[in-house]
């Protein structure tokens, strides 16, 4: 082999543009069809990578523990994120509090690949979300409906995840939010042009984005699902409902055999249309996370209510 430095082919030296919408949204395109797993230490990150996760979310406590322990929940220790970044080669995401643009600046400065402006942490601002256009690092944000998704995209989110109800193992809210978002998209595609103005008003979303969704029949960014997914069948159902991929938070490392469950959820996400493969993936996984019914959680304690 010869060193590439000696190559004589023409070389492109024009200034490169970083942080463009295409580069940020494109990053999420590469994660599609995959599972992103919450991890709290290096060991879990390696299990996730070995199981075929497309990315890990580095955080100090998974949502189920945040829920159980209460208190204010914040951005993770940068050293802990650095350790996970060093241990795996798949992308590493980290969470900032809603509206906490300095936590986001910190996470960008240490080189995380994606920031989740997340309702799982305690919000830092009850009016404003982070102005995500100001960052080169891309953001994913939660949404329970189309209007919320488009407001986040308008603020610069490069990826959306339906919120579900994190830390419960109860998939019902994830289902509700996926159906809501995709149903509202389908409704827009059937509208006359002059009806879209009213639709924009009702969705409380910018007209230009509403018009774009009505024309293309999909969000302008990748749509993952999250919140309560605990089994391979849960993951496959979300894919069949139209998700581009799946976040699994507490569902893996709060279960009996994490490595096996992680690999099974990945398999079910890839082959989401094949019940036989999902059946095989579901065999002998041991104990699933215990879980809480969302209906048993008082409304003020539901995380999906955070963000607006």
């Amino acid at each position: 082999m010869t060193s590439s430095q000696n190559s004589s082919s023409e070389s492109s030296t024009i200034t490169a543009l970083v942080g463009t919408a295409r580069v940020k949204r494109g990053m999420a395109e590469m994660l599609k069809g995959g599972v992103i797993m919450d991890v709290v230490n290096v060991e879990q990150a390696k299990i996730a990578e070995d199981a075929g996760a497309v990315a890990v979310m580095a955080l100090e406590r998974v949502p189920a523990d945040i829920r159980a322990q209460g208190g204010v929940s914040r951005m993770s220790d940068p050293s802990m994120i650095d350790a996970i970044k060093a241990a795996v080669s798949i992308p590493v995401m980290a969470k900032a509090r809603i509206g906490h643009f300095v936590e986001a600046q910190v996470l960008e400065s240490i080189g995380v690949d994606y920031i989740d402006e997340s309702e799982v942490l305690t919000p830092a601002d009850y009016e404003h979300h982070i102005d995500k256009w100001k960052f080169n690092v891309p953001f994913v944000c939660g949404a329970t409906n189309l209007g919320e998704a488009l407001r986040r995209i308008n603020e610069g989110a490069a990826m959306i995840r339906s919120k579900g109800e994190a830390g419960t193992g109860d998939v019902s809210n994830a289902t509700t939010h996926m159906r809501k978002i995709s149903g509202e998209i389908r409704r827009l595609t059937s509208m006359r042009d002059d009806e879209l103005y009213v639709a924009a008003k009702e969705l409380q979303a910018p007209y230009a984005l509403v018009k774009e969704v009505a024309t293309t029949g999909k969000l302008p960014v990748v749509l993952f699902t999250a919140g309560g997914i605990a089994t391979p069948a849960d993951a496959a159902m979300m894919m069949q409902l139209g998700a581009d991929g799946v976040f699994i938070g507490s569902g893996i490392f709060k279960s009996g055999d994490a490595a096996k469950r992680a690999a099974a959820c990945v398999k079910a996400t890839t082959y989401y249309q094949d019940p036989k493969i999902i059946a095989d993936a579901s065999r002998g996984l041991g104990e699933a996370m215990v879980g809480i019914n969302v209906a048993d959680i008082p409304v003020p304690h539901r995380l999906a209510e955070r963000g607006w």
């Binding site: 030296t13 970083v18 798949i90 080189g111 990945v266 398999k267």
Partner: protein, 213 residues
């Protein structure tokens, strides 16, 4: 040519932006399908390995018993194009691979993963691609091609018989980002997320259709 004039081009659909590759091929009017299992792999006349996470693609193709079959088909001459993670999968050698990460191989080169840095370093820029004027009917068309690089690899070392079609300069050093070797084509960048289908056109015209005549 035989009765089936239009070759069937498969897009590996284990993970990544396979739908964008499929849509590009559909837009071009090509005969195409997704490849998720051994049956679809056996039917195709050409393969595209999409962008995605190379570590994940490597692990999934092994976990789902597709690794050896794909490697064998590539070795026996299946025209194959890989973008980004796909380029890594087509390299004979990966610099500092993740634990357990292997490539299908085929192109005698060494690639560096995430060569440009983490996501904040991801970028887009115009590339000069050798022979790009060939594409399409418009000989006067621009030779510029908008390359979108997302946590992209580059070619660290390459055998002399591999044709370097485009390179990017970084801190004074030129790194190949598009290479061709026999039945194989690889790019560090992602043509599938742009509206410009010339790279796919080149693959289909030069590597797929000419292989069948």
């Amino acid at each position: 040519m035989f009765s089936n004039i239009r070759p069937l081009i498969g897009v590996l659909a284990l993970q990544g932006d396979f739908r964008e590759h499929l849509e590009t091929l559909e837009f071009m009017g090509e005969n195409c399908c997704l490849v998720k299992d051994i049956n679809s792999l056996n039917q195709i006349d050409a393969l595209i390995i999409p962008g995605g996470e190379s570590t994940t693609l490597s692990k999934l193709s092994k976990a789902f018993d597709l690794f050896e079959p794909i490697r064998n088909r590539i070795q026996s001459g299946l025209p194959t194009y890989g973008s980004c993670a796909g380029m890594i999968m087509l390299a004979d050698e990966i610099l500092e691979p993740a634990s357990g990460q292997e490539s299908f191989g085929g192109i005698p080169m060494l690639v560096r993963r995430n060569a440009f840095g983490s996501q904040v370093e991801s970028f887009e820029q115009d590339l000069d691609i050798a022979g790009l004027t060939y594409f399409g009917n418009d000989k006067s068309a621009s030779t510029k091609y908008r390359g979108v690089f997302i946590r992209a690899p580059w070619v660290e070392k390459v055998a002399p018989e591999v044709e370097i079609m485009a390179s990017v300069e970084k801190t004074g050093v030129s790194h190949p980002v598009m290479v061709r070797y026999k039945n194989l084509l690889a790019t560090s960048f992602h043509p599938e997320i742009t509206a410009d289908s010339r790279i796919h056109g080149f693959f289909v015209d030069e590597l797929v259709k000419k292989a069948r005549v």
